[in-house]
Amino acid sequence: MSEQKIDGFELKPGFKGMASDTGSDQTMFKGVHWGKAMMWIFLLSDTFVFSCFLISYMKGRGSTIVDWPNTSEVFSLYVGGVPVPLLLIAIMTFVLITSSGTMALAVKYGYEKNRKMCGWLILATAVGGLTFVGMQVFEWSKLIHEGVRPWGNPFGAAQFGSFFFMITGFHGFHVSIGVIFLFIYTYKVFAGHYESKKRGWFTKMKGDYVEIEILGLYWHFVDLVWVFIFAFFYLW
């Protein structure tokens, strides 16, 4: 947004620019859409939620009296009778990161008012998210089938199941919410609501392509959180 002109205001780079923006009237983040600023602050708050979960997990794992299950065994898939550790997780991560890429492209085409491309890319993102949730359901059912429960499991400390189901469940819930909104936005883009300035069903507010970017911020955040969950659960 460096070329943006603010009437009567000189946008300066670096720390000086930040100080001058902060000291000015009207807005602190110059030219930033309200919804975008809101999403950033919401994500900061959400970061604290996931941090609390992951710190609790570290504390819980660090202080159990029983050994933690061997994660590379628990999470491995058998391909032709040979256990391949992290196979499913690798695919899940790949799908989710790819969907982040399609999301970023959707934002770009949205700003270029390329309605068709934007819509197809959001749909692709939604399908990617849905695939991820589907694979998570598969992983959960596999673990449940092997006897892993929130209150105990045959492989080691009971807290393994508790933390695993809680944290991946909370993340999966985030992904699902994102998928729902992605489908709604797919409809809105294909129906041309942003061009016709149609008012929203509930909020009665006019929409704009910036909404795609706001949803994109959320989607990238959910991806980023997955990277941490991946590292803490599957690699530790």
Partner: protein
């Protein structure tokens, strides 16, 4: 000390170099304010009764809805405190009450007052009503989300109240809900009661997050022309910083509530260690109860400042307006608010000195705790210096403000005692603690709420509350509150433990009987005195004197709306343009003793206004 106003320190309003935002392009026109950089807000006007008064998107109506709901829960909390005092002072009259009931009342009183009353009242009530008006916005930036925020809060309150009527009653684990006993059989309400409490807290956090995003973005991104951050009333600064704290602290509460719900429902053992009960090992094992305490207090301590910071901000404005003097050290006040907010995240474990933590850990938290006293003391000095040589009007609002300063200093000083590990350990879990936190975060913020109600009622309802009733209300509350909490310090010193249903055959039984009766009588009177305000409001709405616009001669924008009470959109055709801070009172050379924020520099060219 000379009476002369020091002319060298003042500033002749001639240029507007602070206004243009970028050095090097000083506009010669002294009244110049940068053009609007945000488009007019797209407002959805209500079309029906339901849209206007129930599912309303107007922040002012939402503020009143929050206020009324919070006051309702507050009255429930008040009645619970009466029942507790009845048991403590006159147990022979409280035969209907079992120990289980008492624990439930203690728990619900604490949780209601801290979360559902004070937090909701300050941020949801005053925040919604005042933020858009004070920063010169038409409404909150996301009116629909704001409406959802209130209804989420409403459902949270409904769920909380429902827990009174389920089998087993509400939880009686103490408002801190410490595991493992909270969810174990034997604790009152360990069945459905605790579950509803945890659900209600989660709903509250979700609802608050929606509101908090609104408050923050409205303040950061929707101020009117000329309204810089350093020209905002301190009320807005207090509410803003409290909201930031809430956005970062409530996640810990949400996470602990989720984990405890799973411990309860799915028999996980996040917080549950191996437990022997009647010789049998329970299903639980391997969890950490201390983890819950850390999570809870990482929320719980900032929560204290979520309640206190809006009170600090509001009282600064009230003192300044009613002493007809600018707030002393405005910038210091702002930085103190921000500093207290930042520090409040590094003190949580001072609630856990007796949890068996490493002494060095306690040493660290004692240090950070005592550092908070520095910005807090700065604020107290600034309030007193604002009053010093002010043109003080001793009206109801000012009385509440003075009452606040006294009770706050009192509660703050006992806080210094409790912040030190070696003093805290013997005083821990005694009535000294009860007296401390009721003084500092119960009575003191309540005094500010009362002052704020008397101050802003003319704006909300367009009528003036009765001063006579207000003064009765104040004096009974102030003297009564001291009668309640001063003796409690003494009870704490002789070692009476808190949360006890009765003292059985202990030596406390005989030595404290008289004092407990006295405290209880005072509590009944103070509680009843609060209904003077309810009566005053009803009477004023019916027959009260109509308020003129801006009855207190204040400067901030909420008094300069197109109509009183303000309509949807707040400011009529054109948004106000701000040229100064809201504290230009008694400016030498000015026509009136106040200069509204909207007054252009050229209109007051020959006065000695300060550069803001």
């Amino acid at each position: 000390m000379s009476d002369e106003y020091d002319n060298n320190k003042s500033y002749q309003a001639q240029s507007s170099e602070v206004l243009d935002g970028s050095a090097g392009s000083i506009n010669p026109d002294m009244d110049y304010v940068r053009p609007a950089e945000i488009p007019e807000q797209d407002l959805y006007h209500a079309h029906s009764f339901i849209e206007k008064w129930i599912f309303c998107q107007d922040a002012k109506v939402i503020g009143v809805q929050y206020f009324l709901t919070a006051v309702f829960t507050g009255i429930v909390g008040l009645i619970l405190s009466w029942l507790m005092r009845l048991q403590l002072g006159f147990p022979e009259l409280a035969g209907f009450m079992t120990a289980e009931h008492y624990y439930q009342f203690v728990t619900m009183h604490g949780m209601i007052m801290v979360v559902y009353f004070l937090t909701a009242l300050f941020l949801g009530g005053f925040g919604n009503y005042l933020i858009p008006l004070m920063v010169g916005a038409r409404d909150m930036v996301f009116p629909y989300v704001n409406m959802l925020s209130f209804w989420m809060f409403f459902v949270a309150v409904a769920v909380l109240m429902a827990s009174f009527f389920v089998p087993g009653g509400p939880t009686g684990a103490g408002w801190t809900l410490y595991p493992p006993q909270t969810i174990l059989e034997g604790t009152p309400g360990s069945g459905t009661g605790i579950l509803l409490m945890l659900i209600s807290l989660s709903l509250f956090v979700i609802g608050f997050t929606m509101g908090g995003l609104n408050y923050m973005i409205t303040i950061l991104q929707a101020r009117t022309r000329g309204m810089t951050l350093m020209r905002m009333p301190l009320t807005v600064w207090g509410i803003f910083t409290a909201t930031v704290l809430a956005m970062l602290a409530f996640p810990a509460l949400l996470v602990s509530a989720i984990m405890m719900t799973l411990d309860k429902v799915l028999q996980t053992s996040f917080f549950m260690p191996t437990i022997l009960k009647a010789g049998e090992v329970l299903e639980y094992g391997g969890g950490s109860p201390i983890l819950f305490q850390h999570l809870f207090w990482f929320f719980g301590h900032p929560e204290v400042y979520i309640v206190a910071l809006p009170a600090f901000g509001i009282v600064s404005d009230l003192i300044s307006v009613h002493a007809r003097k600018n707030i002393f050290g405005y910038r210091m006040m702002v930085w103190a608010i921000v500093g207290i907010g930042g520090l409040s995240f590094f003190v949580w474990a001072h609630h856990m000195y007796v949890s068996g933590m490493n002494p060095w850990f306690g040493f660290f938290f004692a240090t950070t705790t005592l550092i908070i006293a520095v910005p807090t003391a700065m604020k107290v000095y600034n309030w007193i210096l604002t009053l010093w040589r002010g043109n003080i009007r001793i009206n109801t609002v000012m009385l509440w403000c003075l009452g606040f300063i006294v009770t706050f200093v009192n509660g703050g000083i006992t806080g210094i005692f409790l912040g030190n590990v070696s003093v805290d350990v013997p005083l821990s879990d005694t009535y000294f603690v009860v007296a401390h936190f009721h003084m500092v975060m119960g009575i003191a913020p309540l005094m500010v709420i009362m002052g704020a109600v008397y101050h802003w009622f003319p704006l909300v309802a367009g009528k003036m509350l009765s001063e006579t009733l207000g003064k009765w209300h104040f004096w009974i509350t102030f003297l009564g509150a001291y009668s309640i909490y001063f003796p409690m310090h003494y009870l704490g010193f002789i070692g009476v433990p808190r949360r006890y249903f009765e003292m059985y055959d202990s030596p406390y039984m005989t030595s404290t009987v008289g004092m407990n009766e006295f405290i209880s009588v005072a509590a009944f009177i103070v509680g009843a005195a609060q209904f003077i305000l309810v009566f005053n409001i009803i009477k004023t709405l019916k027959t009260g004197k109509k308020a003129e616009q801006n009855p207190w001669k204040a400067n901030s924008l909420e008094w300069y709306t197109s109509t009183v009470p303000p309509e949807h959109g707040n400011f009529g055709e054109r948004l106000p343009v701000v040229h100064r801070w809201p504290y230009d009172f008694s400016v030498p050379g000015a026509k009136d003793d106040f200069i509204p924020q909207t007054t252009a520099p050229s209109e007051v060219a020959n006065t000695e206004v300060e550069k803001t």
